[in-house]
Structure formats: structure tokens, C-alpha cells
């Protein structure tokens, strides 16, 4: 009886355009191998090489993995009833553990030892004082290597720039534009967040142009608290201190809320919430609501105390890629309460409805 030896390696690899990419991408964790057939498995003992297969290391008994010692594989064709586990891996000074008595059973008797035994309650040892490699290599070099290892496993910093909204708005009384973008840099817990938001009509100075720079820190699994400053380049060049909370509310609502204390001592609040309703994997309906409130009348800015304005939006985007999603939408802004009265007194319409076409991007 003949035996053919095959080795299949499954590998996943990014698409780079070529359908027949080279095997085993750089990050592939294991190397393929083959070895003579296992007589215990009644394959036959001739151990022919495979037919018409790529050349492979037929005798490879070990699996060198990247940058660490692999798991040597004792050749199963050799009896190993009392061999220490993973013989050959032990570090200097390691001795074989007591191997149990007896021989290999071929029946279905599992034996009453080993994993059938209950565990004891010995205390764990204390952590070692030094890294093991420090005994073999320059401790300073090893410390640097460990620091890098740690930073590459959970300590990475990332930079993301998102334009949630960047759109052309068609509306009565002159078309305009609106954008709402955010940049963050940092790790999982601490981040710097920079926001930019602007709105205006073509051919005029921007009606609103607002920047925020915030320190953001994870508060729990879903929420971040934020603190920093806000500067309105338009309409009035005012600066504010900002404290806020943002995060993911139950049922996957994205929520941003903040209190703004202006340099004149006026206090404002804002709450924004949006939701991504997936119609298909690529077509997403995003309702959005924003509420603004003021603690006092600020007549020079046309703002009354209490709820000052509300904005409702509905945008339908198509994610050509996750990072590139054109959308269409409609938004309705309405001044409320005294703020609406101030607008009417100034001869302005307290409510505006716009149709928008825009692009949501991030990178």
C-alpha cells in the first residue's frame, strides 16, 4: 500500500489585485510541513512524496513560528510513552517531570489519573523578579525590547479624521454649505479630539464657524468625558470652556452633549444624537437631532433663555466603501421660544428647511 503525503496550508491574505498571490503572507503564523506517514494510523510505511505538489520539507518535524521558539513535534511514529512533554523545549536546568508508570493503552480505558483527577489548592508562586532573558542578554536592551513589545500590543496610538457631514444645501433664500468634521489622536483611553463645524451661504461670510479642542477620556465601556475649549471664528470670535460627555447610548444611539461657558459668563448646552439604521449593508439611513439651550438671554446674539433651537435631519448614505459614502438628505432648523421671537423681530425666518447632497468620509 502506498501513502501519499500532502500538506495543505490555509492562508488568508489581503487582496492585492493578483489572484495567485504568493503563499503565506508575511504575517502568516505557521509554516506548512509534511512528514512521513504515521504507521500507527495505518497509513502505510513507505512514505512516498506527494504527487505533483509543490516541493515541501518532508522531514520537518518542527514548526518554527515567527520570532519565538516553536513547538517541536515529537515524531509520532516513534513510541513516546514516557517522554517528557515537548522534549527538547526545556530551558537550561529543566528536568523531566515524573512520567507516570505503565504503558500505552490501546483500548478505551482512559485511566483514572491525569485530567480525571481533581486539582489541588496550592498557592500560586510570586511573579519572578527578573525577566528570564535578562540572564542571557543585555538587560537594558531587553527592557527596550519589552517596552516595544508592550506598546505594540495594546499601546498603539491612532489618528482618525471623519467628516460626518460635508454637504451642499439647497434652500429658500440662497443655497449654502455645511460641514461637521472630527479628528482624534490617541489610544483606547486618552485622546485628543478636534472638531470643526461650519455653515453658511455662498457669497457671504460663514454664518457659523466653530472649532473645539478637547481632551477625551474613556469613562466606562461606552462613554467618554471631554473637556477643552471652543472658539467660534464666526459669527463673533467668542471663546468658551467646554465640558461634555459623548458615547454610545443603549440601542446604539451616538450621543454628544456639552456645556459651554463663554468668556462673558454665559452658559449654553447642546445635545446631539444620531443613529445609523442599516437598510442594507451599504445603504444607511441616519436620523440626527440637535438641541441647543441657553441659561440666559443673550440679546446681542439673538438667543433667548431656555431651549433656543432644534435641528432635525435625515440623511441616506450609500457606502461605496466604508470610508466613502455619498448621501442625500433633508434638514429642518427651527428657532424656539424667545430666540424665535428675536429672529422674527430681526426680520428673519425662524425656521429653515434645506435639501442636502454631500459626502461622508473618514480615514
Amino acid at each position: 500500500m502506498a501513502a501519499a503525503i500532502f500538506a495543505l496550508a490555509l492562508a488568508a491574505q489581503h487582496v492585492h489585485g493578483a489572484p495567485a498571490a504568493p503563499p503565506a503572507a508575511a504575517g502568516s503564523p505557521l509554516l506548512r510541513m509534511a512528514r512521513p506517514a504515521d504507521p500507527q494510523a495505518q497509513v502505510g510505511d513507505e512514505g512516498h512524496a506527494g504527487h505533483g505538489m509543490p516541493a515541501q520539507g518532508h522531514q520537518g518535524h518542527s514548526m518554527p513560528a515567527q520570532g519565538h521558539r516553536g513547538h517541536p513535534m515529537p515524531a509520532p511514529s516513534a513510541p513516546q510513552p514516557a517522554a517528557p512533554p515537548a522534549a527538547g523545549q526545556a530551558g537550561p536546568g529543566a528536568a523531566a517531570p515524573p512520567a507516570g508508570s505503565g504503558h500505552v493503552h490501546q483500548g478505551m480505558d482512559h485511566g483514572s489519573g491525569g485530567t480525571a483527577l481533581p486539582a489541588g489548592d496550592a498557592p500560586p508562586p510570586p511573579p519572578p523578579a527578573n525577566a528570564y532573558a535578562d540572564g542571557f542578554f543585555d538587560p537594558a536592551a531587553m527592557a527596550a525590547a519589552r517596552a516595544r513589545l508592550h506598546s505594540e500590543h495594546g499601546g498603539q496610538k491612532f489618528l482618525t479624521v471623519t467628516f460626518n457631514l460635508a454637504e451642499y444645501q439647497a434652500r429658500a433664500g440662497g443655497d449654502g454649505y455645511l460641514f461637521d468634521g472630527e479628528l482624534w489622536y490617541g489610544g483606547d483611553i486618552n485622546r485628543l479630539v478636534v472638531r470643526a463645524e461650519g455653515e453658511g451661504s455662498f457669497g457671504e461670510a460663514a454664518e457659523e464657524l466653530e472649532f473645539q479642542a478637547l481632551y477625551s477620556r474613556a469613562l466606562d465601556a461606552y462613554w467618554n468625558w471631554q473637556a477643552g475649549i471652543r472658539v467660534d471664528a464666526q459669527p463673533n470670535g467668542r471663546a468658551y470652556a467646554v465640558v461634555g460627555v459623548e458615547g454610545l447610548a443603549p440601542y446604539w444611539f451616538d450621543v454628544e452633549s456639552a456645556l459651554f461657558l463663554s468668556e462673558r459668563g454665559d452658559l449654553f448646552a447642546r445635545v446631539q444624537a444620531s443613529y445609523d439604521q442599516r437598510l442594507t449593508n451599504r445603504l444607511i439611513l441616519q436620523p440626527l437631532v440637535e438641541l441647543n439651550a441657553a441659561a440666559q438671554d443673550v440679546r446681542r446674539d439673538g438667543i433667548g433663555s431656555g431651549l433656543s433651537d432644534v435641528e432635525l435631519g435625515l440623511r441616506l448614505r450609500y457606502e461605496i466603501r466604508r470610508e466613502f459614502a455619498p448621501y442625500v438628505g433633508i434638514s429642518h432648523e427651527r428657532a424656539l421660544g424667545d430666540t424665535a421671537d428675536f429672529a422674527r423681530a430681526a426680520g428673519e425666518d425662524p425656521s429653515v428647511t434645506s435639501f442636502a447632497i454631500g459626502l461622508r468620509t473618514w480615514f
Binding site: 492562508a11 503572507a25 503564523p29 494510523a41 512533554p85 491525569g114 486539582a119 500560586p124 528570564y132 495594546g154
Partner: protein, 374 residues
């Protein structure tokens, strides 16, 4: 958490390969009709577990992670990243398609076994994608599903006394979208109860603690409970040779696999490697029973360097010895290990991005301070 979260990276990004060849170029291996053929499977992917089958052939599993097991015949098996299996097949005089279906069914690695060059066999279509179940959330009270139970639609909400605290709502029910709807608020099943994992700090990186993790080593892996044929489960594996160390474990410990999928934070016991201050200490030659509890909603192939461990799956002194074990979501796996290799060793999830996000720690193996070995 989304019920469709089975794989982090899917077939929309990846092309799945066999020995470097995609489905179109169809890597082909030749055999002589009538001979027995040994296939060595190695999951060398970065982020993908595969369901492997060869329609028309029984697969006799004879080796797991490089060590011989008593032959067990199956129609299909799930191979996690970094695992290896040897299979023996007996093909007839025709071609067969080797199917390596990504566990989320977003794509397929394909190859051909044929008696002559140029022959191909039909390529089966991708099967229906699996969804995350209550069992995957570590909150299923019932026994392992035998047929069809993995399908979320088949779960009986009414019979399950599930409730959600405010935290529970965050931990996957309210955030879970439509598939997790239908549970009454208020109740006893906290999804982030510190009593269920005293050593895990409930920091922003810990979204949930599985309230009722189950030993799932008798289950075939996500999406394979109802495929209509025999699928390998860990409990099928039994070492061919008696385990070299059959002492009772001197102690036992529990390690939680933790995550916040919204923030893409992954860790052991809630601490990412970059925040870990000391290795997990072992005495040289000490035998320890370790239970891995998966508090996340994704599977994790956990890999220990430098050692083989014996799965505690009811086979006594013939426990299967592995270096990587896939812990199903909401599940737990127990192994005994003899820490016989002095040094510092990596211990990590073999999903590349999970590992790099922090799901890794170092284990140290040292003689006892007085120089005596355990």
C-alpha cells in the same frame, strides 16, 4: 455587538488561499486511485477560522496540533487559527473539492484532490451565514444544542429567564440590535457582574462578563450545529499515547478573555499587554489546571508557547494535547499543563488583531525560590 459579528475581517477584504492559491487558480494535489492519503491542515491565516470538508470523503482525524490522536471519522471540522490537524482520506478515481469555508461564510478557500491533472469537482455554494446566539453571549441556560439550536431564530426567548440591568443593556442586548430584542428589562442575569470574575477590573476595556459561560467542547463551532453531518468536536479527540504527566494539578486558575468590541479593546483578565506589570507566574514542572472563560462574543484561538497542554474533556490519562485551543464565545475551556520549560513564554489569542490590541500576556516558568521544583 452585532449578531453578524462572527469574523473581524471578512471575504470582502480577504481572498482565501490554499498553499498560496486562490479559488480561481485552484491548487490541485494528485493521488493514485485506491491509495490512502494523509492531508495536513495548518490554519496559517491571520484572522480567519475555517470550516473544512471534502464533499464525498470521510475525514479520519489522526493528529491534532502535531500529536497523534486516536482516529476519529468526521465529515467536517472547524480549524481555528494556528491549529493543525492531520486527516486520512481514501479517495476513489475521481476529483474532489477541498472546501475551506470561512467561519462567517463570507468566502472560501478551495483546492482540488484529483487522480489526474485538469480534473475538477463541483464547488458547493457558501452556506447560510451563522448568527451570534445567546449561547455565544454566555447566557444560555440549556444544554448544548444538538440540531438547529445554534440558529438564533430557534431560541426560545420565553423560556429563558433573561433580564437586563442597565449594564446588561449595554453589554449586548440593547446594543445587540434586533436579534437581541425581546428580553424583559430587570432581572437577575447581569452581563457585567464583578462576582462572576473577581480578578477582572471592570474598566472601559471590559464590555461584559459572561454570566453563565458553558463548557462548549462538545460543540462543533459557530454555525456547525445544524449542517446535517458529523462535525469534529474537541471531546472527540483522544491522545493515542498516554499523557506523559498524569499527576493531579497542584492548583487551578481561571483566566478571562475580555473585550470591548465597540472600542476594539481585547485583553486577558481586562488588562491589555501594554498595561500588564508582571507575568503570570508558574513554578517549573508545576502542573496547573487552567480554565479560559470567554467573556466576549467572538471565538479566540488561544495559543501557549513552549508547552503542550491537555484538554480536560473526559479522557483521563489520554487527554488530547494541544498548543492552541479555540474558546467559543460565551464558552470556557479547561486544560491541564505541566510547565516544564523554564523561561518566559508568550500566551495569546492567535487572531492577529486581537493580539496586537492587547490580548496577550507573558507566562513565566521558574524554579521555586528555594530552588526546589514543584
Amino acid at each position: 455587538m452585532d449578531p453578524a459579528d462572527i469574523s473581524d475581517v471578512t471575504g470582502s477584504t480577504y481572498t482565501y488561499l490554499v498553499n498560496g492559491h486562490g479559488p480561481e487558480t485552484n491548487w490541485t494535489a494528485l493521488f493514485r486511485p485506491g491509495e490512502r492519503v494523509r492531508l495536513r491542515l495548518i490554519n496559517a491565516a491571520a484572522m480567519t477560522n475555517f470550516n473544512v470538508r471534502i464533499p464525498g470523503l470521510k475525514l479520519s482525524v489522526v493528529q491534532a496540533d502535531g500529536l497523534a490522536v486516536r482516529p476519529v471519522t468526521v465529515d467536517e471540522l472547524q480549524i481555528a487559527v494556528a491549529e493543525t490537524y492531520d486527516l486520512i482520506v481514501e479517495p476513489e478515481d475521481r476529483a474532489y473539492t477541498f472546501v475551506g469555508e470561512a467561519v462567517d461564510r463570507s468566502g472560501m478557500a478551495r483546492a482540488t484532490l484529483a487522480p489526474r491533472p485538469g480534473l475538477v469537482a463541483p464547488v458547493p455554494p457558501l452556506r447560510r451565514r451563522p448568527l451570534v446566539s445567546h449561547r455565544d453571549m454566555g447566557m444560555d441556560h440549556g444544554p448544548a444544542p444538538v440540531q438547529g439550536g445554534m440558529d438564533h431564530g430557534a431560541m426560545d426567548h420565553g423560556a429563558m429567564n433573561h433580564g437586563a440591568t442597565a449594564q446588561g443593556g449595554h453589554a449586548g442586548m440593547a446594543h445587540g440590535g434586533q436579534a437581541m430584542a425581546g428580553m424583559a428589562p430587570g432581572g437577575s442575569m447581569k452581563m457585567r457582574d464583578p462576582a462572576n470574575a473577581p480578578q477582572v477590573p471592570l474598566n472601559p476595556g471590559v464590555q461584559m462578563i459572561a454570566p453563565m459561560p458553558a463548557d462548549r467542547t462538545d460543540e462543533p463551532g459557530q454555525g456547525l450545529a445544524d449542517v446535517g453531518h458529523k462535525v469534529l468536536v474537541y471531546r472527540d479527540l483522544m491522545a493515542r499515547d498516554r499523557n506523559p504527566d498524569v499527576r493531579a494539578p497542584a492548583r487551578e486558575m481561571e483566566i478571562h478573555l475580555t473585550a470591548n468590541m465597540e472600542r476594539y479593546m481585547w485583553s486577558f483578565d481586562g488588562v491589555k499587554l501594554n498595561a500588564v506589570t508582571a507575568p503570570i507566574p508558574f513554578r517549573e514542572n508545576e502542573r496547573v489546571r487552567v480554565t479560559l472563560v470567554n467573556d466576549t462574543m467572538m471565538a479566540h484561538p488561544i495559543h501557549l508557547h513552549g508547552h503542550f497542554f491537555e484538554l480536560v474533556t473526559g479522557h483521563g490519562e489520554y487527554a488530547p494535547r494541544k498548543h492552541t485551543v479555540n474558546v467559543l464565545p460565551g464558552g470556557k475551556v479547561t486544560f491541564d499543563v505541566t510547565m516544564d520549560a523554564r523561561g518566559d513564554w508568550a500566551f495569546h489569542c492567535h487572531m492577529l488583531y486581537h493580539m496586537h490590541a492587547g490580548m496577550m500576556q507573558v507566562v513565566s516558568v521558574r524554579p521555586d525560590e528555594d530552588g526546589e521544583r514543584a
